[in-house]
């Protein structure tokens, strides 16, 4: 595993323990079984009972059409984010400052491609094909996480993406390990484990820079300054404006609100920033004894909306890159299909 071959410590307040707890809960639920819940004629009632008992809905089960559509949209958006998310970090593979860092980064970007494939496979259990989903991404009808529409301008950005962006992603995704849809929950357990290695390597890059030369430390701080608020925006609009949340909570697809998760992320980062020796660029950031949480400045949600609508710094570049790779690879995919067809034909003749 390239992601963890360095001696550095884990960032304090890591989430791997929660992933392991979710995995244990998943196993326990499977052992418990659906027990007393009897399959009934009333499919909707049965579905509701299974969800209420914290058992998993599986592909063979009946499910409400809106539940299926919500999951397809969410899992596909997650898969697209992994695939598009390869670009900002991939931008630094060729210039990584040591061979070890190059190897770790290359392996990390490769992991993201693997997560993408794994998630597309989870979405396919809901009766949609990967090709359809890729088309929806390429023609702009499905989105990916807006964070990847920001540019990676320095090597420290590779560290900041690992620490903040992967960190926010994990805070978002750890509850999904307990999602009511079985294939998604299981995919998320595996993804979260790898993401926690990613977060650790990003943290370690920043730690090295922050304790390096003055130019390296400045590079690290400048990067955190740029990535802090976009990372906070990754949790989505504030609860009052979130359109999908209530129903998803009822279905146990989503378990915490956007604002709850954002708070959890801020509370986690403050201690980590102190250990890094880097400054979180928020003059209002302070401990609130009463709430037992940090007060902080909200990200600019107008900016988030602009980026979601396609007008972030790199939206066009990211989509153009993906479309070009897809179209330039068309002749290769056609050749592979033609070759496979010829082979199948030969085998049929031989048999």
């Amino acid at each position: 595993m390239y992601g963890n071959d360095f001696p550095g410590e884990d960032p304090p307040g890591g989430l791997l323990g929660e992933v392991e707890a979710a995995e244990a809960a998943l196993r326990a639920a499977a052992e418990r079984g659906r027990g007393a819940i009897e399959p009934s004629e009333d499919l909707a009632a049965y579905f509701a009972e299974v969800v209420a008992a914290d058992q998993k809905i599986e592909p063979r089960d009946w499910m409400p059409e809106a539940y299926r559509r919500t999951l397809i949209r969410q899992i596909a958006q997650h898969a697209h984010s992994e695939i598009i998310g390869m670009q900002p970090e991939g931008n630094w593979i060729s210039r990584a400052p040591s061979l070890k860092r190059k190897a770790i980064l290359l392996a990390k970007v490769q992991d993201e491609a693997g997560h993408g494939l794994y998630l597309y496979a989870a979405a396919e259990t809901l009766g949609v094909s990967r090709d359809e989903l890729v088309d929806l991404l390429l023609n702009g009808r499905q989105k990916y996480s807006s964070i990847f529409n920001y540019p990676t301008l320095s090597w420290a950005d590779v560290g900041a993406i690992g620490w903040l962006v992967d960190g926010a992603a994990i805070v978002n995704q750890v509850p999904l390990c307990r999602c009511s849809y079985g294939p998604y929950a299981r995919a998320m357990i595996r993804v979260c484990k790898e993401e926690s290695f990613h977060q650790r390597q990003g943290y370690e890059i920043l730690h090295t820079l922050a304790h390096g030369t003055p130019a390296q430390k400045a590079m690290a701080q400048e990067s955190v300054d740029r990535w802090w608020y976009p990372s906070l925006a990754m949790f989505g609009p504030p609860d009052g404006d979130s359109t999908h949340s209530a129903q998803s909570m009822a279905w146990k697809i989503k378990r915490f609100s956007n604002d709850e998760l954002r708070q959890r992320f801020v509370d986690m980062c403050v201690g980590q920033a102190e250990v890094l020796g880097l400054h979180i660029p928020d003059p209002e950031l302070r401990w609130n004894e009463e709430r037992q949480a940090y007060d902080f400045t909200q990200p600019d949600y107008d900016e988030l909306m602009r980026v979601i609508k396609g007008n972030g710094p790199c939206n066009r570049q990211r989509m153009e890159h993906r479309r070009r790779a897809h179209s330039e690879g068309a002749w290769v995919r056609e050749a592979a299909a033609a070759y496979a067809a010829k082979r199948a034909e030969k085998e049929k003749v031989a048999a």
Partner: protein, 241 residues
């Protein structure tokens, strides 16, 4: 510059420059599975490069580690073959390059695994298994493309024609090296011609066989590749990463 240091350095540079080129495919491959496969092969090459360059640094005894050798030498000091520095071009050219490189590295690392130098033998033992996978992967694609569609056949033949002249340099005699590459040629010819035949492709006529990489006289491409690879490391002299 001769003996095991020069040989180890040459092999390390082959692997490093190959890794740098293969990694350029990341996020650009024709299908997502291939993105992962090419990154895997790049990682293997990079892993071999790190072992070889670290050992080369020890053999030289001048205190240079893998990063000093990778980031602080100019193009004229690199000893990689010309093949690996050629631009990726389209996927067919990349697969032609990978076929030639891996059909050379498999017998090379296999022979190295039995050489008297224990360190090189250990590196060869590890790398030959990886190279066998690279060869499988490249051979499969050359066959798919060669015997796929009309367009893919045309592109694959053009890729082989373009790359073929650069194969000769790999097997230039080096009698004092731990493994003399000249002894690997027949193995290579056997492997590659079988793949090309199955792929319905023609082995090109060789008229022109460029050399120079092992003496540090490269194509125009290497300097650009290194400029990009080395820019950040060189901008912060003495920094740790």
């Amino acid at each position: 510059m001769n003996g095991p240091f020069a040989f180890t350095l040459a092999l390390g540079d082959d692997a490093l420059v190959a890794a740098q080129r293969l990694a350029e495919w990341t996020t650009r491959a024709p299908e997502m599975e291939e993105d992962i496969a090419l990154a895997n092969i790049a990682l293997d090459q990079l892993g071999a490069a790190r072992l070889l360059l670290s050992y080369a640094g020890e053999l030289e005894g001048a205190g240079r580690d893998e990063d000093a050798l990778a980031f602080l030498r100019d193009d004229r000091e690199f000893r990689n073959c010309l093949l690996v520095e050629l631009p990726n071009d389209d996927f067919a050219v990349t697969m032609a390059k990978l076929l030639v490189l891996s059909a050379y590295q498999v017998p090379l690392y296999t022979a190295l695994a039995d050489c008297p130098d224990e360190r090189l033998a250990a590196i060869g033992g590890k790398a030959r298994k990886e190279s066998a996978y690279h060869l499988d992967h490249a051979a499969l694609w050359v066959k798919r493309l060669g015997d796929g569609t009309e367009e893919s056949h045309r592109r694959m033949q053009a890729g082989v024609d373009q790359i073929w002249p650069y194969a000769d340099e790999l097997f230039a005699a080096w009698p004092e090296a731990p493994v003399d590459p000249a002894t690997l040629r027949s193995d290579f010819d056997h492997t590659v011609s079988a793949v090309l035949a199955e792929a319905t492709l023609t082995v090109p006529e060789v008229g022109w066989t460029p050399v120079g990489g092992r003496d540090g006289v490269h194509t125009e491409h290497l300097s650009y590749l290194l400029a990009e690879m080395q820019v950040l490391h060189r901008a912060h002299p003495g920094a740790r990463w």
